[in-house]
């Protein structure tokens, strides 16, 4: 029985690109460096999409309380 748990899947995604959808209309895409039990995340080489505006950020700590969806290996589309 090899069902993968949500945190297990996130752990596998470390060092790869992830696409994150927030509770509101913002999206982040970056390389996942790590996360904690509260889904706070460290991301690198980040593209932030905010109301159609793109920002580039080198390294961020993303607050887990607002994170809604995480797509491993995903890209902002």
């Amino acid at each position: 029985m090899t069902t993968i748990l949500p945190l297990g899947l996130l752990d596998k995604a470390i060092s790869s690109r992830v696409w994150i959808l927030m509770k509101d209309d913002r999206e982040f895409e970056g390389t996942l460096r790590g996360f904690d039990d509260f889904f706070n995340m460290v991301l690198e080489n980040v593209i932030e999409l905010d109301n159609g505006k793109k920002n580039k950020l080198e390294q961020i700590l993303l607050n887990g309380t607002q994170i809604c969806l995480i797509i491993p290996g995903g890209e902002i589309s």
Partner: protein
């Protein structure tokens, strides 16, 4: 006060591999196949489409903390019964 059993009141095991529609706080809605879940209600969904835009998201981790509701067996729109 009596000790209540520390079991989740939501039984998701029977909905594994079924299609669900999840509503989140903030208004997001997604439809996908439930692959797994944990005690905090974080989910792994497959073949996820965002609603209503039908944007394809694929394999997705959903945060249980922001889930408002689940629909199993789909939803049907009805006329407003309160008017």
């Amino acid at each position: 006060m009596n000790q209540l059993p520390k079991e989740s009141i939501i039984k998701l095991q029977s909905h594994i591999n079924k299609e669900v529609v999840i509503q989140f706080q903030g208004g997001r809605q997604v439809k996908g196949t439930l692959l797994s879940f944990d005690v905090q209600l974080n989910l792994v969904l497959d073949e996820v489409r965002e609603l209503p835009s039908q944007r394809i998201l694929g394999l997705v981790i959903c945060r249980g903390a922001l889930i408002n509701s689940f629909a199993i067996d789909g939803m049907v729109e009805i006329e407003n019964p309160y008017i």
